[in-house]
């Protein structure tokens, strides 16, 4: 197995505070030993990314913070379960997404229509010209109902397939597909209203 540098770490104890590049394997073994310095380093490095993941799924900032704490707690307490087969970041990200979904279920906001709903038509006569700011992205996502938003996040942002989303959310593949089309349709209207998108 090749050694992978994960970054410039201040992982040394007080007697040797010099930062140095540390291999992923070294970091993992320190995490298994529950080394607080290694845990803090990992948190500092990945919390901005994972906080944004939680914020995309959860409207409430407090809920996003709670999901972030639970997610990192799970990462640190289940570090033995990481098999070293795929990307470590990908493994952590899956945990974070699951925590956000659990929080949505806890708040009972995730409601999906049954399969009897008419299947909407997908439209592709649309383009987005302008750059979107962080505030715009979040406010657009916040305007989507939780079901649309969750499927949009899982499909577009995380890259899951419809059958995986169906398994994760306990819905049918058709419901996942229709929620995505409806989410895009709603976003299309919002972007047109704001003058960010245009019909082609």
């Amino acid at each position: 197995m090749y050694a992978k540098n994960v970054g410039f770490l201040h992982l040394e104890k007080k007697d040797n505070p010099q930062p140095r590049f540390v291999e992923e394997q070294t970091l993992l073994s320190r995490l298994v030993e529950e080394d607080r310095l290694a845990q803090k380093w990992l948190y500092e490095r990945y919390s901005p990314l994972f906080f944004s993941v939680c914020r995309r799924y959860l409207s409430s900032r407090e809920d996003a913070e709670e999901a972030l704490v639970s997610g990192f707690f799970k990462i640190f307490s289940q570090i033995d379960a990481y098999q070293n087969t795929g990307s470590f970041e990908g493994w952590m990200r899956r945990i974070m997404v699951n925590e956000a979904l659990m929080m949505l279920r806890k708040r009972r906001t995730l409601v999906f229509p049954g399969d009897e709903q008419p299947f909407p038509d997908a439209r592709d006569d649309f383009s987005i010209d302008a750059e979107l700011s962080a505030r715009e992205i979040l406010s657009l996502l916040e305007e989507l109902p939780p079901g649309y938003r969750t499927v949009f996040n899982l499909y577009v942002m995380e890259g899951y397939k419809h059958h995986e989303i169906a398994d994760m959310l306990g819905i049918s593949i058709n419901t996942s597909k229709s929620q995505l089309i409806l989410a895009k349709e709603k976003l299309r209207k919002l972007l047109l209203t704001k003058g960010i998108g245009r019909e082609t």
């Binding site: 607080r36 845990q39 707690f73 962080a134 577009v156």
Partner: protein
């Protein structure tokens, strides 16, 4: 290209450092877990080797004693 891929491309703009109390909350949970769990036994290979060496030494001493006793009787 799906026009909505722009959301993914610009995801990094959403990165935001969480408030300081989030780490404190997490650290508190980790500390509680550490205290609640029974202490793990530390396995030291040199300790095992020491025990094996001691047993072998006792056996050797017993064998010498037996040999000496048989020889003199």
């Amino acid at each position: 290209m799906d026009p909505f891929d722009i959301f993914k491309q610009q995801e990094s703009k959403l990165h935001e450092k969480p408030p300081e109390q989030v780490w404190k909350k997490l650290e508190k949970r980790l500390e509680q877990r550490r205290r609640a769990r029974p202490r793990r036994r530390v396995r030291k290979p040199e300790l095992h080797l020491g025990v094996v060496a001691l047993v072998l030494l006792v056996l050797l001493f017993a064998a010498v004693m037996v040999w000496w006793f048989v020889r003199n009787s």
